[in-house]
C-alpha cells in the first residue's frame, strides 16, 4: 500500500514537472508531429512534378498519344515541348529540367519500324533518377505493348492474306501476338502500400525508442547528478520501487506521445492501422517498456546525464539505421542484418508493421513480442542488479 503511494508519487511528479514546464509539454506534443512530418514528407512521399522537356519532331497519333500519356503522369511536369534536340539537352545540362524525352523524327512515320526514344537524364540527382527511369520505362513499354497488340491484330489478318508470301513476317507477328496474350496479374495482398505506410510504423517505434532512452537518462542519471535520487534512497524505499515509479511515470508520458504520433500519422498521412488501434498501442507500450529497461540498465552506473548520453549514443544511432526503419533489413549487407537481429527495435518495427499494415493480431506477432519481453526482462534484471545505490 505504502509502496503504491510512492509509485503514484513518481508518476504525479513526472506530470507535475511537465505541467509546470510548458516548453517540455509542447515538446512532447510537437516533437512526434515534427518527426512524422519530417519522415512522412521528407522521406516517405513519392516524387512528383519533376520538370522535364519533351522533344517532339513529328506529328501523328502516336506522338499525340505519347505526349498525352506523359502530360497526364504526375511524376512529370512538362516544362516545354520543343522540336529542337539541342535546346532540350541544354535545358538538362543547365539544370532547368531533370530530363529530356526525345522522340525520334520518324516516331510517327512507320509503326512497323523499331523506334528509338532517347531519355536524356540528369543522373546526378539519384532520387529523381530512381523515380524517372522506371516510370518512363513503364510508359514506353505500355505504349510499345499497345502498338504491338495493334500490329498483331493487323499482322494476323495480313498473315492470312500473305501467309505463303512471307513466313518470317508471319512468325514474328505470331510471337508478338503470343507476347501480348501474357498478362501479369499483380496481387498485392496488403493493398497498395506506399513508402509512407512502410515508414510510419517504424517511425512510431523509433520515436518511442529515442524518447524512452533519452528520458530515462534525465530521469535517473540526471537525478543522480542533482541529488534528488539520493534523497529518495535515503528513505526506506527499495530500488525496485524507485525504478518502478520511474518506469510508470515515463510510460504514462510515452503513452500520450504514442497516441499523438499515431493520430498524427493517421490524420496527416492517412496511415493504415489495419490491425486496430489497441493492439498497435499495446505493441508500442511493450516496446517503450523495453527501451525504458535499456535506459535503466545504461543509467545504472552513469553518474551524470552527460555520461549517460555518451554511453547511449553508440547504441541508439546504429540501432536507428539497421533496424529496418527506412529500408527492409533483408536488403542490408549480411553484417548489418546480423546486428539488426540483436536490436530490439527490429522486432518492434516488425511487430508494428505486421499489426498496422498486414492487419495481424497480437497472436500473430507473438514471436516479436516474446523477443521484446525477453529483452525487457534482461535489461531490467541487469539494470536492477547493476543499479548502484551508492549515490
Amino acid at each position: 500500500m505504502v509502496e503504491t503511494k510512492k509509485l503514484m508519487w513518481m508518476v504525479k511528479k513526472e506530470w507535475l514537472s511537465l505541467k509546470r514546464h510548458p516548453s517540455r509539454l509542447i515538446s512532447i506534443l510537437v516533437f512526434p508531429i515534427i518527426m512524422i512530418l519530417l519522415f512522412g514528407y521528407g522521406m516517405g512521399g513519392d516524387l512528383s512534378d519533376l520538370p522535364i522537356v519533351v522533344v517532339s519532331q513529328s506529328n501523328g497519333d502516336l506522338t499525340d498519344m505519347t505526349l498525352e500519356t506523359i502530360k497526364t503522369n504526375d511524376i512529370y511536369h512538362v516544362v516545354k515541348i520543343t522540336n529542337n534536340v539541342n535546346e532540350a539537352k541544354d535545358m538538362v545540362d543547365k539544370g532547368d529540367v531533370k530530363a529530356a524525352i526525345i522522340l525520334p523524327s520518324d516516331y510517327d512515320s512507320d509503326t512497323s519500324q523499331q523506334k528509338s526514344v532517347t531519355f536524356y537524364l540528369d543522373s546526378s540527382d539519384q532520387m529523381a533518377t530512381q523515380s524517372l527511369v522506371p516510370t518512363t520505362q513503364a510508359i514506353f513499354s505500355q505504349i510499345s505493348l499497345e502498338q504491338a497488340s495493334a500490329m498483331a491484330t493487323q499482322s494476323t489478318n495480313s498473315t492470312i492474306a500473305v501467309e505463303d508470301a512471307d513466313t518470317e513476317n508471319s512468325l514474328s507477328s505470331s510471337i508478338n501476338s503470343f507476347k501480348s496474350s501474357i498478362t501479369l496479374h499483380i496481387n498485392k495482398i496488403y493493398g497498395d502500400i506506399k513508402y509512407i505506410d512502410f515508414l510510419v510504423p517504424a517511425v512510431l517505434g523509433m520515436t518511442v525508442m529515442m524518447s524512452c532512452m533519452m528520458g530515462m537518462g534525465a530521469s535517473i542519471a540526471g537525478e543522480r547528478e542533482t541529488g534528488e535520487l539520493a534523497r529518495l534512497f535515503m528513505t526506506p524505499t527499495s530500488v525496485a520501487t524507485v525504478i518502478g515509479g520511474k518506469i510508470l511515470g515515463k510510460l504514462s508520458v510515452e503513452f500520450l506521445r504514442a497516441m499523438i504520433l499515431l493520430s498524427a500519422a493517421i490524420l496527416l498521412f492517412g496511415a493504415t492501422v489495419n490491425g486496430g488501434i489497441l493492439p498497435t498501442i499495446i505493441v508500442l507500450i511493450i516496446g517503450a517498456l523495453c527501451f525504458v529497461g535499456f535506459g535503466i540498465m545504461m543509467s545504472a552506473r552513469a553518474s551524470t546525464q552527460e555520461d549517460y548520453s555518451q554511453m547511449v549514443m553508440p547504441f541508439s544511432m546504429p540501432m536507428m539505421f539497421v533496424s529496418g526503419v527506412f529500408y527492409p533489413v533483408e536488403t542490408m549487407p549480411w553484417i548489418f542484418q546480423q546486428i539488426a537481429y540483436i536490436c530490439p527495435l527490429t522486432y518492434l518495427n516488425d511487430a508494428m508493421r505486421a499489426i498496422m499494415l498486414k492487419g495481424q493480431t497480437l497472436g500473430d506477432v507473438w514471436f516479436e513480442l516474446l523477443v521484446l519481453i525477453g529483452f525487457t526482462i534482461f535489461f531490467f534484471a541487469l539494470g536492477v542488479k547493476r543499479f548502484n545505490r551508492d549515490v
Binding site: V2, K5, K6, W9, K13, L16, S17, R20, H21, T226, G227, E228, A230, R231, L232, F233, M234, T235, P236, T237, R389, D390, V391
Partner: protein, 356 residues
C-alpha cells in the same frame, strides 16, 4: 542510549583509493557533533556510509543501534539529511516536496499535514509553501529542505554545509533553528567549513583527514590541547591595533616583519590594542619592550605585536609604554587559538605524516 552513532574500523575503498580508513568514532546522543575535515578528507563518504547511501568496504557502523549493512531501512527511518545542495524536486512546491518525503517515509496520513504545517511554521517557510523550490532563495531552500528532512521526526539529523552561501542574517536564523532542534532532542551531525559555526554550535568536534579521525574533543578541549601543546615554548601573540593620527605617517619596513608561516602564528595567544594615536616615537618605544620581538603593521595603521613570554607583566608593560607616550588605548582584546587554528594545525600535521 549513550551513543547514536558508533563506527568500528569503518572503511570505504574505491578501487585502490581508500576514502575512509578504519574510522572509529562515537557520537553521543542528543548532542551537536561537528564533523570537520579538508576537502577530500572522507567526510562525505563517511556520511554516505552512515546514511546508507554507500556500502562500507570493511568495518561496521551502527546508527541508533541499527547496523547500516544489515538493517538499512531501520537506519533510514531514524535519519534525516539536509544536503549541501538542495536535492528537492525543483518543479514541485515546498508543500508537495514535504508531502512526497512524508509518504516516502511512511508518515501516517492523519498526522502528515499537521506535522508539515508545524515544521513549516517552525522554520518560517509556510508563507512560501505553494512556491516551487526552483523559485526560492538559498535560505528558503534550506528551510524547505529542513522541513522535508524532519517530517518523519528523525532521531538524527545530518546537516551538510547548511549555511553555505547564506547571508549573515539567514545564517543566524538557521543556527538558532539548529540549536532549537537539538534542544528538542535531535542529535545533529553538522558538516561545515565554517569554524565559527562549528565552534558556536557543536558539543563535540571530530576532524577527519585522509580518511582518518585525527582529532576528537569538545571545541574548547581541542583548543586547550593546542594551547597546551604549545605552552612549553609559550610563545604568544599580542595584537595591538593602533590607528595613526597622521595620515602620512609611515613605519619603516625594516621595522616590520611578518609571520613566516602558520605554525609560527599558532604559537601565540592573540591580543589586540586599539590606540587612537600613533607616533613613530611610540612605535620605536614599543619595539624596545623586552617582551616584544616582532612588530607588523596592518592596514590603516593597525599594528600587530608578537610578544614573547606573554603574561600580565607583558600586558602591563605594553600599556604603560603606550600611555606614557600619550597614546590613547581605546580597546584591548585577547584571542584564544581558534578552532580554525586547531583545524589547520591538525590537518597539516596529518598531511605531513601522510607524506612522510
Amino acid at each position: 542510549m549513550k551513543y547514536v552513532i558508533e563506527t568500528k574500523d569503518l572503511t570505504k575503498r574505491y578501487g585502490k583509493f581508500t576514502a575512509v580508513n578504519s574510522l572509529n568514532m562515537k557520537i553521543p546522543n542528543k548532542t551537536i557533533f561537528g564533523m570537520l575535515g579538508p576537502n577530500g578528507a572522507g567526510k562525505t563518504t563517511t556520511i554516505k556510509m552512515l546514511t546508507c547511501l554507500a556500502q562500507p568496504t570493511e568495518g561496521t557502523a551502527k546508527v541508533y543501534g541499527f547496523d547500516v549493512i544489515k538493517e538499512p531501512n531501520k537506519v533510514r527511518d531514524v535519519l534525516g539529511m539536509v544536503p549541501q545542495h538542495v536535492s528537492l524536486y525543483k518543479d514541485l512546491t515546498v508543500l508537495e516536496n514535504s508531502e512526497l518525503c512524508a509518504d516516502f517515509y511512511g508518515v501516517p496520513e492523519d498526522v502528515k499535514f499537521d506535522r508539515i504545517n508545524d515544521l513549516m511554521e517552525l522554520v518560517d517557510i509556510k508563507y512560501a509553501q505553494d512556491k516551487k523550490i526552483g523559485q526560492l532563495s538559498g535560505g528558503q531552500k534550506q528551510k524547505a529542505s529542513l522541513v522535508a528532512s524532519l517530517v518523519h521526526r528523525p532521531e538524527i539529523l545530518f546537516l551538510d554545509e547548511p549555511t553555505i552561501g547564506l547571508d549573515p542574517t539567514t545564517k543566524r536564523i538557521l543556527w538558532e533553528l539548529i540549536q532549537d532542534l537539538n534542544d528538542s532532542g535531535h542529535t545533529i551531525i553538522l558538516c561545515s567549513h565554517d569554524m565559527h559555526e562549528v565552534d558556536m554550535l557543536c558539543d563535540n568536534v571530530g576532524i577527519i583527514n585522509t580518511g582518518n579521525l585525527v582529532a576528537y574533543d569538545t571545541p574548547q578541549g581541542l583548543k586547550d590541547t593546542l594551547l597546551k601543546e604549545e605552552k612549553d615554548e609559550h610563545d604568544k601573540i599580542v595584537h595591538i591595533a593602533l590607528s595613526q593620527t597622521h595620515e602620512d605617517k609611515e613605519i619603516s619596513k625594516e621595522d616590520i616583519s611578518s609571520f613566516k608561516n602558520q605554525d609560527e602564528f599558532l604559537k601565540f595567544r592573540k591580543m589586540s590594542f586599539l590606540v587612537d594615536n600613533l607616533s613613530e616615537n611610540l612605535t620605536n618605544k614599543i619595539k624596545t619592550i623586552s617582551y616584544v620581538y616582532d612588530l607588523k603593521i596592518g592596514k590603516q595603521g593597525r599594528i600587530e605585536l608578537k610578544i614573547d613570554k606573554f603574561n600580565d607583566e607583558a600586558i602591563t608593560e605594553v600599556i604603560k609604554t603606550v600611555v606614557e607616550d600619550g597614546g590613547i588605548i581605546s580597546s584591548i582584546s585577547t584571542e584564544e587559538p581558534s578552532l580554525e587554528d586547531v583545524f589547520i594545525k591538525v590537518t597539516s600535521e596529518a598531511k605531513d605524516s601522510a607524506r612522510a
